[in-house]
């Protein structure tokens, strides 16, 4: 059994004597006898390190990862390449094992990382202030709705159906606590229905929430949405996919108040959904309503440049029930991966990467929609991911593809019953033209097979 403790029998004897008790048990005297467990926990015996390794390796091998199949699965998390230098820097104990930088004199590394990260997020979103991370994308959308509550106190959160289903579900969960009601705006031709939005918003609208690109992969024309929201005095929140942001009009340029998003694609592993990080940026007027930690630059008593956690009077440890958020532990290590990643791809690489994905996604969309029984679910511009409609049962098609080692994407039907035939396909920079051609081959045969099965069924 691996225990990670150093206590010897002699230590124990001497320590008990110094404390003035005769047994460890006596130290627990405050716990009423009735509340003592009085038995062993019903858990297996401890194991040696090598046994634990073998056991967890065997469990991991029962998962089919992006290493084991050719995957086009996205829908909020993406199989991007994580450069080796991220692993190496994140495993440095100086980043891995400290906690929140409460003592800035010995935490300058972490604080400067936050400052650099905030700058990178600010550059991506075109908004002047960013915090040092939230948990992940959907909870960051929830945090934005809370900022809207603090800003204007209105009741209705109006959210596009193009926003990630998990973000919308999170908003629904939080709404009763926030005293908000969530209304959904449908999609038309793959994008937010502007007329429906205009009809739904008004003086009770606290915020309009959209996603760019939206869940169907479509790049939304946000300008009229922002104009409509501003006309009724509502805040505009945009959940952004950070890599395409290297090309897309920024929230800052569009006059959007708050930009949030899922940071996984910035140098974080898939990890079956976490840990990653959520980013949160806003216009200047909201600086004192921001949730979470923010690092700021300052000087020490000798005039030396340094960094501290700043604007802490917003936070729970000081403001308690009046805090702008309850968040304490966030995702700082994952945000470090994010800023290293953004430094690694760099100013030109960010654009090149986004353009590469754009072109390969376009190639893939053309190749796949040329297949019999496959068409585009919408014709809007896309950046990395796009939606198809299949003339065959999607689940069965996906099973056929999986049997050939190809994960063809995400079946839209569960979250979007109106798109029961929908398939969402993501093309990261790790999917080459040859990979896309393979997908076209496998998907084409799978759809054809299912169609002929259906045909045969209809004839018999």
């Amino acid at each position: 059994m691996s225990r990670y403790t150093s206590l010897t029998d002699e230590d124990l004897r001497e320590m008990l004597a110094a404390i003035g008790v005769s047994s460890i048990d006596e130290l627990f005297d405050a716990i009423p006898a009735a509340l003592r467990l009085g038995r062993r926990l019903d858990l297996p015996e401890g194991l040696s390190e090598q046994e634990v390794y073998a056991r967890l390796r065997a469990m991991a091998e029962r998962n089919v990862s992006a290493e084991d199949e050719l995957t086009f699965l996205g829908a909020g998390m993406y199989d991007h390449y994580v450069p080796a230098l991220i692993d190496s820097i994140l495993q440095r104990s100086e980043f891995l094992t400290p906690y929140t930088p409460y003592q800035p004199e010995i935490s300058q590394g972490g604080l400067q990382v936050m400052f650099e990260y905030q700058t990178a997020i600010s550059e991506l979103t075109g908004l002047p202030i960013s915090n040092a991370s939230l948990y992940e994308g959907p909870s960051a959308v929830g945090a934005a709705a809370y900022l809207a509550k603090l800003a204007n106190g209105r009741r209705d959160v109006v959210v596009s159906r193009g926003v990630h289903p998990h973000s919308r579900a999170t908003l629904e969960t939080l709404a009763p606590g926030y005293g908000q009601a969530v209304a959904e705006i449908p999609l038309i031709d793959g994008v937010t229905d502007l007329a429906a939005l205009e009809a739904r918003i008004g003086p009770d609208t606290t915020a309009v929430i959209v996603q760019q690109p939206n869940f169907l992969g479509a790049v939304e024309d946000l300008e009229p949405i922002v104009a409509a929201a501003k006309a009724v005095g509502a805040l505009v929140v945009c959940a952004c996919d950070p890599l395409p942001m290297a090309l897309l009009r920024t929230p800052g340029e569009l006059g959007i108040d708050v930009a949030v998003g899922e940071g996984q694609s910035l140098g974080n592993r898939l990890d079956y959904g976490g840990p990653s990080f959520g980013f949160f940026a806003a216009s200047q007027e909201h600086i004192r309503r921001m949730p979470g930690r923010i690092a700021g630059e300052t000087r020490d008593v000798d005039g030396r440049r340094g960094f501290v956690l700043t604007l802490q009077t917003r936070e729970q440890h000081i403001r308690r029930e009046k805090a702008t958020s309850n968040i304490c532990t966030a995702q700082v290590l994952n945000a470090l991966a994010g800023v290293i990643y953004l430094s690694w791809i760099g100013k030109r690489g960010a654009v090149e990467l986004a353009e590469l994905m754009l072109r390969r996604a376009d190639y893939a969309r053309r190749a796949l929609t040329a297949l019999p029984g496959v068409r585009a679910l919408h014709d809007q511009p896309v950046a990395r991911e796009f939606a198809l409609a299949l003339d065959a049962p999607v689940a069965a098609v996906l099973e056929r593809c999986a049997a050939e080692g190809v994960n063809a994407g995400y079946a839209l039907g569960r979250e979007y019953p109106e798109f029961a035939d929908g398939l969402l396909v993501a093309i990261t920079e790790q999917r080459s033209r040859a990979d896309i051609d393979r997908l076209a081959d496998v998907l084409g045969r799978a759809v054809a097979a299912e169609r002929s099965t259906a045909m045969a069924g209809a004839l018999s």
């Binding site: 716990i31 991991a60 004199e105 969960t173 897309l248 600086i287």
Partner: protein, 514 residues
Amino acid sequence: MSPAAQTPNGVATQTPQQREEVVTIYERSRPGRRAFSPPALDVPERPLDELLPPSLRRAAPPELPEIAEPEIVRHYNGLSKRNFDLDSGFYPLGSCTMKHNPKLHERVAALPGNARLHPLQAPARAQGALELMWNLERALAEVSGLPHVSLQPSAGSHGELAGVLLTRAYHADRGDERTLVLTPDTAHGTNPATVTMAGYEVVKVGTSPDGGVDLEDLRRKADDRVACLMLTNPNTLGLFDPNIEEIARITHDAGATLYYDGANLNAVMGISRPGDMGFDIVHFNLHKSFTQPHGGGGPGAGPIAVSDRIEPYLMVPRIVRSEDGEGGVPRFDLEEESPKSIGRLRGFQGNYGVFVRSYAYICSLGAEGLREASEIAVLNANYLLALLRRPEIAPYLPLAYGERCMHEFVLSGAPMKRDLGIRTTDLAKRLLDHGYHPPTVYFPLLVEEALLVEPTETETRETLEEFAEAIGAILREAAEDPEIARNAPYSTPVRRLDEAAAARTPVVRQPARG
């Protein structure tokens, strides 16, 4: 300024002069440099305007750094050296359980079957991950004494939010409108902040002279408007509340739920269980008791365990296990349908990478090991407390409440401030020169000049003895010359920073270029 000087115990009293001014990664950037080379363009190069109309594109690319890999590595390695960390030294930060983070955990979390597993992979092809999560849920249920677990929350405060929203759903389902949540005045800031975000009003409950909940005050306040009482036990004073059964009775008689902030679970694993104490909802901080590295402020995870009456409202998706797998192997699935569920609190299934590490830890320690961890955590805390109760220390830094402690304890620096003229913050800053991370300071709020010390079970007795020596040395030094502590630290990469200036005119990003 004079060159760095040393006191007799080898601790610096003045700043080493040679400290370079830091530069940011943006200041290292030079146009034309790069690290990343994109894969070759292997598809037709259609004009950008055809793919993405100019009206949808940004005016200029983001000003990200332009820098080559060797310089990125040096930059971040350089920054890492400006951090203190748990692997370098003692980190008795109270309430945070800075215990050793086993290295094995990084290896197993990085296995491709974990690290490259997509969260939307079909459950049939993620059986290992689902089984791991199921096993972790069962283990946490056993440790807490509450049968139903959701791993979804991302940290302690997220678990609190889940807990209060579950409470809300529970009352709403019974048609019971309640408006208040009780928290003791010793509560962590996340508790009251959570209460507000969940739409309730906070009512504070006092602390009795022995450091527990003031029962009279609780009885007065626990009425039918109260939805929940949030508590930690042991509390943030490091004391187990011996009246917990009575507290549970009062709370439940008022129709409220009892919430357990699990930040202090490291004191009682395998010894006493929140479920048996009468709690309805518990959160765990996997980054505290269950060794997820703290990462400079996350990631963590804050799973919750709940009683039968709260179970119908638990978040989705739930992990379900059935026996009908192939060859008698159990099959695991994600269940999204649950009519009374409060829904989701985040994307996907939670911080799975954290679950892997915590599960590995539980496999390593097993039932006995977990109990021993808590026993030694409590032993170490009491031993350090005994060392700090020596006559040369205790009069300046008395124990705030009680005689002994659980896994942590709170000293008051009030006499030190009065008699030696140094504050708790000065003591903390001087500890930096001795190579320690200081304890938590100025929390809990009801103790004047508080110092909250949590050594954890993974420290040796020698470390505790050396730390106590350092405290003694600082007090002796302050008796001679309080200015030394008041101006500390001296040996750190920077000295005391002007936080007021930072807040007055916030500079929260590198100034934009051009």
